[in-house]
Symmetry: C3
Subunit: 266 residues, 3 copies
Amino acid sequence: MSNEISTLRAKCPLVQAITNYVTVNDVANAILAIGGSPVMADYEKEVEDFVRLADALLINVGTLTDGEILGMHKAGVKANELGVPVVFDPVGAGAGPGRNKTVMELLKDVHFAAIKGNLSEMAFIAGRDVVTRGVDSSMDEKAADPVEIARICSEKYNTVVAITGKVDTVCYKGRVARIYSGSPMMGRITGTGCMLGGVISAFVGALEDPFVATASALGSMGAAGKKAEERAKDLGTGSFRTFLIDALSMMDDGKLSKYGLVEYEG
Amino acid sequence: MSNEISTLRAKCPLVQAITNYVTVNDVANAILAIGGSPVMADYEKEVEDFVRLADALLINVGTLTDGEILGMHKAGVKANELGVPVVFDPVGAGAGPGRNKTVMELLKDVHFAAIKGNLSEMAFIAGRDVVTRGVDSSMDEKAADPVEIARICSEKYNTVVAITGKVDTVCYKGRVARIYSGSPMMGRITGTGCMLGGVISAFVGALEDPFVATASALGSMGAAGKKAEERAKDLGTGSFRTFLIDALSMMDDGKLSKYGLVEYEG
Amino acid sequence: MSNEISTLRAKCPLVQAITNYVTVNDVANAILAIGGSPVMADYEKEVEDFVRLADALLINVGTLTDGEILGMHKAGVKANELGVPVVFDPVGAGAGPGRNKTVMELLKDVHFAAIKGNLSEMAFIAGRDVVTRGVDSSMDEKAADPVEIARICSEKYNTVVAITGKVDTVCYKGRVARIYSGSPMMGRITGTGCMLGGVISAFVGALEDPFVATASALGSMGAAGKKAEERAKDLGTGSFRTFLIDALSMMDDGKLSKYGLVEYEG
C-alpha cells in the first residue's frame, strides 16, 4: 500500500495560492481537507514574503487584475530562486488573445514543477490551433490524443503535465500515469479543476517526486469524486460539492490505493 | 407543460458574469445547476474576448474596483455591438452617491435585455427619492407599487424588469408576470439575489423571449427556494444554501410548471 | 439567562465588512446566520457612503490590494468620526514586512473597538518578535501567555482584545473572559477565524458593552462549532462547514448560555 496521503498529512505543507476569486474558497478548503495549510496571499507587495514560508506555490489565472498578474510573476520568480516548487493552472488558455498572452508570459518567466489543464488548454500550450470555450475544454479525446499533448508540453517546459478528462493523463520524462476514477458530477459544479490545482500543490509540497505527487493528487480527487457522487446523486450538485470536500478530508492511503484507480505505465 | 428548462439544458448557454466577489461562487454554481456554463472573466484586457464566446452577459455591481467598472463598460458595449443580451443586477442602487453614479453610468452606456433588483433598488432607477439599506430593500409593497415601478423602469430603459419581493414582478411592453413561489429563508443567506441574476442570464441566453426567460428564472428560483426550505427548515441556513443549489440542479419542466407559481397577466 | 442573541436579532445590525476574497462569502453568511445584515462594500470611492448606514465596520486584512487598503483607511477614519465601532482582524500579522506594515498603519490611523487574532498575530501586535506561519498561529500557550498578550494589546490600543486558541481569551480594562467551547474541526476549514470577526462585529453593532459583545461572539462561535462537530465528525469537513452556519442560525439565548462556556473572571 502506498503512503502518499500519510506523508502529506505528516508534513502539512504550507501552500501559497495566487488564484481566482471564483473558487478561492474551494481551493483553500480542498488544500486543508487533504492535509495542507493554505495561504492565499496575492498582493504584489507581500507575495515574496509568503513564498519564503511556503512549501509550494500555486498560480491559477482564472480571474485576473494587473496587480494579480504582477504578483504571479514576482512570486513565481522568487519561488524559482528559493527552490519552492510552482504549480500552474492555465485556466481558459486558448480562449482569446488577452488570456493567452498572460499564460505565455508566465510560461516564459517561471519554471513550473507541474502544469495541469483540460485538453484544449493544454493543446493551446502545446502550440495547437484551438479555441477554448470559456473555461471548459472544446476538445475531447477524438480531437487530440492527451498522452501526445501531455508529452509535448512536458518536454517543452520540462515539467510534469496533467491533463484532465474522462480519463486523466500525467506525463513526465517518459513516464505516464492514467487515472480512471472521478465522476461526471465534477463538471456540474464550479471549482473542481481549481481544487485539483490546490491538491496537486499540496502533494508537490510534501512528496519528493513531483510525478507521483501529481498522479496521487488526481487519484485523490477522483476517489473523492466517486465517493461524493454515491452520496449525492439523488440529492443534487449542492450536496455533491459538500461531499467532495468531506471525501477529501476522509482520504487515507488505503482509500487512495483502492478507489484512486491510478495506473502507472511505461 | 412548458419546456423552458429542457430548452435551456439542451442549449447549455455560455454565460459570462462580471460580478461581485462575495457571491461569485454561488452565481457560478447556480448557472451550472440550472444548465448553463459560466465564465466569470472580468479583467478589462480580456472581457471582450470572452463576450465573443458568450450567449449572455451578466453585470452585477455588488462590489467594485476601477478595473471592474471599466471591464463592465467594455464588455457591455461589446455585447450590445454583437447582439449578446446583457442582464443587469444593480445591487445597492440607492445606497449612496458612489454606487448610484456607477449604476447610472452603466444604464447610460449599455442597453440591457433585463434588469432585476429589489423594490428600493428599482425605485431608485425609476427616479424615486429612496435610500437603500445597504443591499437590502428599504421599501415594501406598501411604500410603492412594484408593478408601477417595474413599468416605469421598463419603458425608460426599454428592457424586461424584474422586481423581487414577497411576490415577484416581471414587466415588459405591457406584459406582466407575478411569481408567487419562493421562501423567506432566501433572505437569510447571502447570494440568492445574485444567483437569480445568473439564472436569468442563463435563460435569456437560451430562450427567444426575454420576458418569458426572466419569468421562468424567477419561477425556477422560487420553486427551488420552496423545496430547499422544506428540507432545511429544522436544520438551518447552511443546509438551506446547499439544498437551494440541489433543487436548481434537479429542476425540470414539470417542477417549474407545478411549483414555480408563475402567473402571466395582461 | 443572558439575552445577547435576542438583543442582536431584534436590532439586526448592519455590518459593513472590508474583508478578504477567500472567505468573504462565509463572513456574510455568518453575519446573517447570527442575525445581522452584511454589506461587503470595499471600493474606496463608496466605502464612506456605506459607513453612514452601518452599525459596525469590520476590517480584515486577509488579502489586499492598493485600493482595498485605501478603502480600509477611509472607512475606518469615517467610522471613528461618526462613532461607528470598528472591529479589526489582523490576519497574518507577523508573517512578513509587507503584511506587518499594513497592520501597523491601520493601528495608527484607526481606533478599534475590538481586535481579534490568534496568539502569534496578537503577539506581533504586542511588540513581540514572532513569525506567523502564513495565517496560522506559530505559537501555543506554552510560548506565550494569551492573557498577558491580550492585556498588553488592550492597553496599548485601548480596545477589547480577543485571542483565539484552544481556550479563547477576551480582555478589556482589567476584565477577562475565557471561552472553553469550540472544536478542533474549526481549524480544518478555512474561514472560521474570519467568520468570528463578522460575528464579533454583529454583536458589537448591537450591544452596548463591547467586552460582553466580543465574549458573546466567541461563545456563539464556540457553541456552534461544538454542535457542528457532533453532526459532522463521521462525515467530514465539508459537512462541518455547512453545519457551522446551521448552528449559528439556530443559536438562541439558552444555547449560548448552556454551550458557549463563557467564564467571566476578574
